[in-house]
């Protein structure tokens, strides 16, 4: 971690000293210092913290038109209940079918793993309450999510916006990471024309997602798109992928992968280039193959960066809305709707309380995923170097 910074011409590592107050006019200077921070803090408090509380209140109410205006009726947790057990359930969670036998096996395996994970926390010499509670919460939440996810994936079930979003996030990040890592390794070699590849590979990340969504709509058009001859040869020209939930979801994921692989690529390549050459040369002299040099030397060195890019993408990927909204309009039915899109559609139909409830579920899932990731994975990986 520090090595990279030193190569970049970094200053002294370790805690940075504070600037001392100048002797004259200490009081004035003290106030001036507050002015550096205050505008940013106030802005965040007024436009981010307060709205968050108001949203919480809205999620507990129902919006109603009354003569001369509107009113908010307090309905308690009804909006949340509606999503989990009421009329919005199929939209939010999806249709739940009985578990297929193969999924029983998967679930049993994972559940055992989670149980072992909790028990091992209790077996440590002096278990801290925080760690144990944290692990139990993690096991319960992720176990429940997996249980429902598997039921929606069983034939007869179908995933709602919650699980669609989770699928987008996990599949997207996994593919983007490995693809980005491979490209980053290849482009970090001494090859003529590296700069060309670097610039070209960066492009998709900068392009407006709405533009990407339309572009992919054109490309995926089986009758008129550029790949139409292929589809015709396969006898698929008259079929529209939009009619198939998984086809439409795949289209959204392909667009997302196309757009965000560059982010992984750029950061991982910069990290690979800052791996000290001496380490690699030493491995080379010892007769290591390229494969070994990458997996035994370079990859462990870039693990902290790896972990951070995954964390960043994890946080950002949950916010996906542009692609499904423009590419498929959330369809067929609600098959490609992400949570943000779900909230937007509820808002547009004036179900403001329901929209806020969906947004709060999203906030909960993002926070849960990010904190679990940080405490279970990130902390360990960031300390390896």
């Amino acid at each position: 971690m520090l090595k990279v910074r030193e190569r970049n011409g970094a200053g002294p590592a370790g805690p940075v000293p504070f600037l001392r107050l100048s002797p004259a006019g200490a009081w004035v200077e003290h106030q001036t210092r507050a002015l550096f921070l205050l505008p940013a803090v106030l802005m965040l408090v007024f436009l981010s913290i307060f709205p968050l509380f108001v949203s919480l209140y809205l999620s507990l109410t129902r919006f109603q038109f009354v003569p001369g205006g509107f009113q908010l009726v307090f309905v308690g947790l009804n909006n949340y209940r509606k999503l989990i057990a009421g009329i919005e359930r199929v939209h939010f969670l999806g249709a739940l079918a009985g578990l297929a036998p193969a999924f029983w096996l998967v679930f049993a395996l994972v559940a055992t793993g989670l149980l072992v994970f909790v028990i091992r926390a209790l077996q440590t010499p002096s278990p801290s309450i925080r760690a144990v509670v944290g692990r139990i919460v993690f096991a319960l939440v992720s176990g429940t999510l997996l249980w429902m996810l598997l039921r929606t994936l069983t034939p007869g079930g179908r995933p709602g916006s919650l699980f669609t979003t989770l699928i987008y996030v996990t599949v997207g990040i996994a593919v983007q990471y490995w693809l980005g890592l491979m490209l980053a390794y290849l482009a970090s070699q001494d090859l003529a024309g590296r700069r060309f590849f670097r610039v070209v590979f960066l492009l998709p990340m900068m392009i407006t997602p709405v533009g990407i969504a339309y572009t992919f709509r054109i490309l995926f058009d089986l009758g008129k798109g550029p790949f139409a001859p292929i589809w015709r040869a396969l006898g698929l020209a008259e079929v529209s992928w939009v009619n198939y939930p998984w086809g439409a979801r795949a289209a959204v994921m392909i667009g997302d992968i196309w757009q965000w692989t560059p982010f992984m690529f750029i950061v991982l390549m910069a990290a690979l280039e800052s791996v000290p050459t001496e380490l690699l040369e030493a491995a080379m002299v010892d007769g290591a193959s390229r494969w070994q040099m990458f997996w035994k030397v370079s990859w462990p060195q870039i693990l902290p960066v790896t972990s951070t890019v995954i964390l960043i993408r994890l946080i950002e990927a949950f916010k996906i809305i542009d692609l499904p909204n423009v590419l498929t309009n959330g369809g067929p039915g609600t098959a490609t709707e992400s949570l943000t899109l779900h909230a937007f559609i509820s808002w547009r139909t004036l179900d403001i309380g329901g929209s806020a409830a969906v947004a709060y579920f999203l906030l909960f899932i993002v926070t849960f995923s990010a904190t679990s990731y940080i405490s279970l994975v990130h902390r360990r990986l960031a300390e390896t170097v």
Binding site: R5, G11, V16, P51, Q189
Partner: protein, 349 residues
Amino acid sequence: MQNALPLRQLRFARRTSPHAPSWPGAVLSYLVLGFWAVVVLFPLFWIFVTSFKLPIAVNDGPFYLPFIDFPPSGHAWRYIFVDLRNDTLRPFINTVIVAISSSVLALALGTAAAYGLLRFPYRPRLGVILLFLALAVLTVVATRLFVPWQAGVAAAVVLFLLLRQYAGARSHRAFGNDDIAFWMISQRILPPVAIVIPIYVMFQRLHLLDTQLALIITYTTVNLPIVVWLMRDYFRQISIELEESAAIDGASPFRIFLSIVLPLSTPGLVATFLLVLVFSWNEYLLALFLTSANAQTLPLSIAAQNATRGPQWWYMSVLILIMITPVIAVAIALERYIARGLLVGAIKG
């Protein structure tokens, strides 16, 4: 055993750099990299080609090369730029104004905060924060019930100034710079959809809905955490001695910040500015909620095309090209800065 490597092989190993691939490796690398370059460039090529097609050239199945497969036509460009001039220009100008102003604002507020967090110790007391929140809630409640809002705000400010010392002295818990920085950066976790409805209501009350100002304020807030995060790491690399000697000579913090720190960190500023600019340029969700016609930005006006006229790929392609050309130019010109800026952020997490 380890030293039993034949001399020739050892010399060979020493001479090659560890980054140089063997020749089959190089061929394979070029194949994979070339493949991905095609994957990246083909959609852009297709958009470009489609923008020069007549409807018939789109509908009769795929034609790939202008002049060879189909006769190119400028009809879509003429339609967008001449017939629809104002409808195209307005969203474009909106986007330019909103993206640039919000990025400048976010950069100004964010760099100041990042610098302050790095160089000055802040110890906000828990009591003062609670007092602030309580007064804010009280003000909102009071103005909704009976008090005119000017009086409510004035009373709250006076009360806050009076009670500040007292609340600070009473509570012993205080937060440090790292807590503040963590709080600011973690705002990034917040999905925008969770805060957009109250923001919508607020701008509606202020009669700012569907104005550029509303978007500028919102985008600035959303981008602040990124600026604080990246610039804090950038400032960390600047050595403190210059600033210390300037402080001893009696320069004010603002003077030091403006004439020493900012000039020293120009590359970081440029990278952060561009990143934030691109984010604002591309933003979709908040604009979707907060604008309807007047302040509509490009992503929205493109998204609206489909609803009004059905998929008319030729016009759509022109609009997409208008929207993405500036960001592509930015990407090509400043690839180095962007890569470095992202890496600095990613390493310090």
